[in-house]
Amino acid sequence: MNSEAIPAARAIYQKIAGNIARVIQGQPGPTRKLLAALASGGHVLLEDFPGTGKTTLAKALARSIAASFKRIQFTPDLLPSDILGVAIFNQRDQAFHFHEGPIFTNILLADEINRASPRTQSALLEAMGESQVSIDGENRPLADLFFVIATENPVEFRGTYPLPEAQMDRFAMRFMLGYVSPEEEVSILAAQQTQHPLETLKPCVTLAEVLQLKAAAQALRISDELKRYVVDLVAATRKAPGVQLGASPRASLALMKAAQALALFDGLEFVTPEQIQELAVPVIAHRLVMEPQARFAGVTARGVVEGILKTVRVPA
């Protein structure tokens, strides 16, 4: 990677982040993570209380990029074909014609993903893992930029279907937005007094620029020692007390890629331990299956990963 690619890629990141900040105020951390997932080719699960700006963040990102954007509101009666598409028999030419579903897009917002049935949720599996869908025995590749932002509400369980472990593993990151400070909330009120800033938000980068950002992140240097550190962190979750199922090598991969993207955002040419530590919880925690006893004892997956971060010796 030439030395100019990094500042250029960083500039793309800054443009998107700045554009999003016009809509989502006081959330630089989640925006940074969201863009790290985008640049590393992962998908994101936003889990937070209603009204904290999950959908707005996803929309703001979609609008900031001159790319196609689709939104699916997940409901219990949603069918896999409603996502993937369906082949309809055309009597005129006596042939089946495939009608692409909303998944054939660049950025997909899967709103309240846990409201759909597991069957429908699984329809996303192949798409998220392999960037292609198989319909009627035919493989249909998705766009070069395929980014899923799913949201779910952690407090409401009636009429919901918790995401299966396999699907959770498909998400590169899961994080929360959290409530903003009173001052920032006041400025949100002021900004939306007349109209929502989202309505005036214009794309600031092209699809090609985003692909350039992804390529730059992928090419960022990471030392073997830090790869080992990533593996050590993930491996430690498999032996941690209270954890029934630890994180998979897919987690190591996601953590390394996301750390590369973050280092790029920081203007570095190589990854440092700080980026790995910053992303360890959002990348690893949601993949852990906790033992019921540990769960009842108040042990959380987040706590387990934080504990591992403290005990595993960090390269210095």
Binding site: I222, T272, K310, P315
Partner: protein, 710 residues
């Protein structure tokens, strides 16, 4: 903010002078002030400072325990909890005050180690976290939660130590005047260096002078007030006659003669008697003797303050000679409670039960010992005393019989007129003609043994002439009932002998007869009264106990089969009392048990051994020779760790340096350290590594930072 030169040395000298530790004060002052001339300094990490502080705190705890137990703190507090009255609360307060004052005097010595550490440390100030576990806990908790750590506050221990020294000196002011002027001088010295710049020297001196004069008057006023209260406290006439008692009163004893009904006696264990070297124990342990009978009370006679001090020779040896010149070697160990209290100073006070021919006492930890002319020994000391009494046949502690001619003494031959008819009628029946005094005594004894019975029951007899005439209860015993308890027998014997012209006294005490393992227990119901008769030939008092021996068996029958349960609790109570009154060796054990802990801390401080860090629970990193491990940045890290800025296993260098930014040692070096860290990270984590000139830059910058740190 440093203290003025030599101020601490002078303050320590002053403290040593005022607190009677002049040598210690001078040595400590010299050691502290020498730091101004010695250039060598210790590189101390926070962990070392914490250890020194813990050592000083432990020393303080040991000193507090020592001071508290030395001033009978457990005893007074135990008493206060048992009997929560005003007097006991005051006693507990007094002992606590004495302990606190003792501790205050030692404070400069206790914290000297910490002060010395600062004086010889390369750091002029210590973080407040090192002396506060709470602050350390708060910091760790915030770091654990990922919140920014609170800013480190540093302090100079010299000023608090200066205040501690002055406070300690005030706890034991040698004389009011020297302390006052010394305190003024030292405070003026300290304040002179901190005086506001905008104020003239004369104005400052004038203001200080005014404050000193005002405080001088204030102190004089307080002194006068204290003198008045002392006067009130010391007004306490005839204290001996007024002390509150639960046990035997040396001045008088009220008998149960004349009472109707059964005499109830408690089976509670009051004494524990242990033979020493296999010797037999004395049967009778006397508490007091009395001379004058005025039914139903026996009086000791003489004035209440007729007690004379018995010297402890040599002082604090626990050896008290009651009869100089005798050489008896039979010993008996006696444990008894001092049941009363001296109203003057609140100390336990009581009559000691002793063999009548006791010669001296050993291992008796009493504050004072007094005896009167009738052989009663009064002890003031802890609530429980355990001692050895030496005894043997021979003279007794009592004065020889006195006559009316001796001033201030009652007659040992005095018989109340109203008892005489009954006594005479008894004497008339005795075959006494031609007998000497010893034979007469034997006849009297036989008379009681043959014609009288032991009984604790006195029946109301409506037909008795006693109700119709003025016949006394004793006369009724002698002439009609012929049955009574020991007080009847003893009183009757004393009066009969006196009536026959033989000097006799009424004695009370205990009979030792109940073995319990390797010792004897004496219960409250073993209390006994007997007659002491004067043997003119041997010039000594002898015991004449005319109570039928069946009284012991009679009392034994009244013992409950469940008595062993009560005895077990009594034994436990006795063991607790031994601890409570400092008669056990628990206190030295307690203090000795602190020695290993103190030694451990000392070892840690001297040899810089760190406590074992819990191993990282993560997978062990194989010993791979990762690139960049030769970075000079590690020297810088080590230097900062030596200053107490330790890095946890999972803490990244960026986070660690951000935390270390609060330390004054690295204040102002933030930018340089960040640049250096950038180079170090490239050297370590960039697969391309550093180019030659950049590698050299890393070396140079690290050296510069190290030099700046030093």
């Amino acid at each position: 903010m440093k203290t003025p030169p030599f101020l601490l040395g002078a303050t320590l000298l002053f403290w040593g002078w005022q607190s009677d530790f002049p040598l210690a004060g001078a040595a400590m002052g010299l050691a502290l002030e020498s730091a101004r001339f010695i250039r060598a300094r210790w590189e101390m990490a926070d962990a070392e400072i914490i250890r020194i502080w813990n050592f000083c705190s432990l020393l303080g705890l040991a000193a507090a325990i020592f001071a508290f137990t030395s001033n009978e703190g457990p005893a007074t507090f135990g008493k206060m909890l048992e009997y929560p009255n005003l007097q006991n609360s005051e006693l507990a307060g007094t002992s606590s005050t004495a302990a606190v004052i003792g501790l205050l005097r030692w404070l400069p010595m206790i914290f000297f180690g910490f002060m010395l550490a600062q004086a010889y440390s390369s750091r002029t100030e210590f973080p407040l976290d090192t002396v506060s576990p709470f602050l350390r806990y708060r910091r760790q908790r915030r770091l654990k939660r990922g919140q920014p750590a609170p800013r480190l506050i540093h302090f100079n221990a010299a000023w608090p130590y200066f205040v501690i020294c002055l406070y300690a000196a005030s706890a034991h002011a040698a004389t009011e005047q020297t302390f006052f002027w010394g305190l003024c001088g030292l405070l003026a010295w300290a304040l002179w260096h901190q005086r506001p710049q905008g104020i003239g020297r004369l104005v400052w001196v004038g203001a200080l002078g005014a404050v000193i004069i005002a405080s001088l008057f204030g102190q004089r006023g307080l002194g006068q007030l204290a003198r008045l209260t002392d006067l009130a406290d010391n007004y306490n006439a005839q204290w001996l006659a007024r002390f509150m008692r639960h046990g035997t009163d040396p001045a008088q004893t009220r008998t149960a003669i004349g009472q109707i009904g059964e005499l109830q006696m408690s089976p509670q264990i009051v004494l524990r008697v242990t033979p020493v070297n296999g010797a037999a124990v004395p049967t009778y342990l006397r508490e007091a003797s009395y001379r004058t009978y005025h039914a139903p009370v026996w009086y000791a006679g003489g004035s209440p303050d007729s007690f004379a001090n018995i010297p402890e020779t040599p002082p604090n040896s626990g050896h008290w000679t009651l009869q100089p010149g005798r050489t008896n070697h039979t010993l008996v160990n006696i444990a008894c409670y001092l049941g009363g209290y001296n109203p003057k100073d609140g100390n336990p006070l009581g009559v000691l039960p002793l063999p009548v021919d006791c010669e001296h006492l050993e291992h008796l930890e009493a504050y004072s010992l007094q005896n009167n002319l009738v052989g009663t020994v009064l002890a003031e000391g802890p609530g429980l005393v355990i001692f050895d009494a030496s005894y043997g046949a021979g003279t007794t502690m009592d004065s020889p019989p006195a006559t009316n001619s001796a001033p201030g003494l009652s007659d040992d031959l005095l018989v109340p007129d109203k008892e005489k008819p009954a006594l005479d009628s008894v004497i008339a029946t005795l075959p006494l003609a031609g007998l000497n005094e010893a034979e007469k005594c034997r006849v009297v004894s036989q008379y009681f043994a043959v014609h009288y019975q032991y009984s604790v029951w006195q029946a109301p007899d409506k037909k008795s002439p006693a109700l119709q005439t003025n016949e006394t209860a004793l006369a009724r015993f002698l002439l009609h009932t012929h049955a009574g308890h020991c007080e009847f027998f003893a009183t009757a014997t004393v009066l009969i002998l006196r009536e026959m012209g033989i000097p006799a006294r009424y004695a009370v005490g205990y009979v030792v007869h109940e073995p319990a393992g390797n010792h004897y227990v004496v219960r409250s119901r073993d209390a006994h009264a007997w007659c002491q008769v004067w043997n003119g030939r041997a010039q000594t008092w002898e015991i004449l106990d005319t109570t039928p021996a069946s009284w012991v068996a009679t009392e034994g029958k009244r013992l409950s089969p469940w008595q062993f349960v009560a005895d077990t609790f009594s034994w436990l109570g006795f063991q607790f009392a031994k601890f409570r009154w400092g008669q056990s060796h628990l206190r030295p054990y307690l203090l000795i048990s602190l020695v290993p802990a103190l030694g451990y801390f000392l070892y840690q401080i001297i040899f810089h051994r760190r406590r074992h860090q819990p191993a990282a629970t993560g997978p062990a990193v194989p010993p791979v020779n990762w690139p960049g491990l030769d970075s000079e940045f590690y020297l810088l890290e080590q230097a900062l760790v030596r200053r107490g800025l330790e890095r946890r296993p999972g803490e990244s260098l960026t986070h660690w340096l951000a935390q270390a930014g609060g330390d004054p040692a690295v204040a102002g070096m933030d930018t340089k350290l960040r640049e250096l860290l950038g180079l170090h990270y490239r050297h370590r984590f960039d697969p391309q590594g550093l180019a030659g000139p950049e590698r050299e830059e890393l070396r140079q910058k690290t050296r510069a930072c190290l030099a700046e740190l030093r």
